[in-house]
Symmetry: C2
Subunit: 426 residues, 2 copies
């Protein structure tokens, strides 16, 4: 008798292989490729010496060693949560109390991804609406879709999400009696993945006020993804969306130690209102009872010893060089053409390249394979969009990530890409 | 205008504070208490020196340091998955190929809890049935309930789950046309939490065959929780349920490095059929993209260097002493009474104490508060049961965990407990 298959949950049935898996497999099968697709961090930026010093300190003292190797709590290591509050105060340049934040509003998670995931888990039932930017971070949008959420998108310009368009969309949903289904707005407020764009200072309080305005029968959660905040290579830091949520009721901000410090520690955190925090914590208790206590202690020591700050300077210097080289190579090598345009991010890991509509960057659009033959890959822009009401997805963009690409491959990679684009432009 | 509340998901609304939170709060508020309630690991067993040596090795070599501090993959570190296969071969004393297992059937998770959770996530829709032992591990049963699952229970005796009763229950469900809702059977096959009991050798293949027999229109997953397997203090290891699933289609076995090695690393794994593995992996990609790569590398080095095996011997010696003292203290101090009975586990961290029906061990039953006044706490047995068809939950048991209790507090703790029981028996 043949073995019958499992009857998977509706959620599992809505979940498929991530599109990025194909790109990872392609890169693995072609080790000579220059990849602008991978979203890892630059291995040369990783804090080996700092982490060695910290682990020696933690583990050489038998009492401390027993503490760091024991289970932690679900909410996370209390001294780390307190250190995070102080760190946020530095970033925002104002006391946490002015934002109604204390250590109890911080939950440690397995990277910022887990925080994003659990926020969706506590908010979304099938048919609920989440509003994102177009384009948006495809991994999270994919996760949202597995909850059966309807993803709606608001366009971006150089100043990030066009908040007037969000207002219009919410107004339209309200007039169609659908405001009750809107559970969350997702915004990557710094150096967005995939565009590298940052929400302007002027739009930040307006976005919070729009969310407040439409929080009528229930509150809408503004999910701020601030993963790239500290990877700024020029200019001044901007206050977070969270910093405009003075009574701490509307915004959950997700951060990570993975990008600015060490990805292998997989430690992130979320700063959030108490009522949603309680629900997130209950859910996290079921997921895993709390993330690695050892990794949290390492992050704590890094913050407190100053190793985090020192290392972050080095990380920024490394990425700034790569970004400068990436942008210079693009200027030198890409054809001058009014419809060949790319973003000039002041931080983060991405350049978003837009091409004439006649060039199809999608996986099956021809150009992707030409690039593969030429020895370079990128993330097709189509992954970053949701079909609009006409079921249309833009297919003339690509995400280029320079984070993991060895610095001596950046110019050759751009040259290969430019070569294919020039052929296609003819 | 007052701020409206969030509209949480149905799952979040089904999720409440874990009952154990109350016990943790009680213990925290009364630092002088002797706790037989906490389910942590014995801090004196934690491998400080071993972890120091491993982290020094990993981080002193700059190339290796960059590797261990980089992101890993969602499925987990490949050399660790291969080492786990070899480790399982040792435990089962047969080649992995005879169980149709290779490294691709292993997924690394944030403790075994995350594996258990994601298995539920890929299988359960509201109204689905999961069958557990009575009593069972209350944290997982609580998580299952948040999916809207109906929990049904099968009694245990000294040989673990009474598999004939499972057969009868499945038969009854089938004759009521409800077999299609049965998604999983959950069994803690070694030193069960809360009873310390182990499923007998003879019942193991029978349990697998019963699951196969009722896997008619769809396959039922047998979730084996083997978290305590290696914490054996006497007698020989038993082959896992997984070892009887020769074509690797029916059983998912969950393990952890937390209990036998270091809880702070929060690293576990699941060995499972390929088709359910694919779904678990997709879901884990959305949850967190993979658990801490650094912690996985530490576990790998521990396994490969022999530090894991050496340390495990020390862990077993430590817990064996505590168990012996616990059982001896109970024999000396508890009143001789035909209805005062407790389990004599050969491993794990728990003793299950059963009292006459006239004694109510529940949180609000009076005895709990008397114990608190006397300076000792336990986990009320009621948490470990689901209401039966008459909505009845046994209230004359308690779970006693000797893992974290300092060894010199075990006898005094048992004496306090015995004192209260004697008063209640009068």
């Amino acid at each position: 008798m043949p073995t019958p298959s499992f009857a998977f949950s509706a959620k599992a049935q809505r979940t498929g292989e991530a599109p990025i898996s194909y790109l990872i497999a392609v890169a693995k099968a072609n080790p000579g490729l220059i990849s602008f697709a991978a979203g890892l961090v630059d291995p040369t930026t990783l804090p080996g010496e700092e982490t060695l010093a910290i682990t020696q300190k933690l583990l050489s003292d038998p009492a401390r060693a027993r503490d760091v190797l024991q289970y932690g709590t679900t909410v996370g290591y209390a001294p780390l949560r307190e250190a995070i509050v102080r760190h946020l105060e530095q970033l925002e340049a104002k006391p946490a109390a002015t934002m109604s934040i204390d250590a109890d509003n911080i939950i440690l998670t397995s990277g910022s991804q887990q925080a994003l995931y659990i926020l969706a888990d506590v908010l979304l039932d099938p048919g609920d609406v989440v509003i994102v930017e177009a384009p948006s971070y495809f991994v999270y949008a994919g996760a949202l879709a597995t909850f059966g959420a309807r993803i709606m998108a608001v366009p971006m310009d150089r100043d990030g999400m066009v908040v007037e368009e969000l207002d219009k969309l919410l107004h339209r949903l309200e007039s169609h009696g659908q405001l009750d289904r809107v559970k969350a707005i997702y915004c990557q407020s710094y150096f967005q993945n995939p565009t590298g764009l940052t929400l302007s200072l002027e739009r930040r309080p307006r976005l919070v006020e729009i969310v407040r305005k439409y929080s009528k029968r229930h509150r809408i959660l503004l999910i701020e993804d601030a993963a790239y905040r500290e990877l700024r290579y020029e200019g001044d830091d901007l206050p977070s969306l969270k910093s405009f949520d003075l009574d701490n009721t509307l915004v959950a901000s997700c951060y990570t130690f993975d990008k600015p410090f060490a990805a292998g520690l997989k430690t992130g955190f979320v700063v959030l209102p108490s009522d949603v925090g309680k629900k997130v914590l209950e859910q996290k208790g079921n997921h895993d009872f709390g993330s690695s206590h050892f990794c949290q202690q390492i992050c704590y020591e890094a913050l407190e010893s100053g190793a985090y700050a020192t290392h972050l300077d080095a990380v920024r210097d490394g990425y700034r060089k790569k970004r400068d080289l990436m942008l210079a190579s693009m200027k030198t090598n890409l054809p001058e053409h009014s419809e060949v345009q790319w973003t000039h991010a002041k931080g983060g890991l991405y350049v978003w390249l837009s091409l004439p509509l006649s060039i199809n960057t999608s996986r099956l659009g021809g150009m992707f394979d030409d690039c593969l033959k030429a020895g370079v890959i990128y993330v097709p822009g189509e992954y970053c969009f949701h079909p609009d009401e006409q079921n249309h997805v833009p297919q003339n963009h690509m995400r280029l990530c320079y984070a993991v690409t060895p610095i001596d491959q950046i110019e050759p990679g751009v040259q290969k890409l430019a070569g294919v684009i020039k052929t296609r432009l003819r």
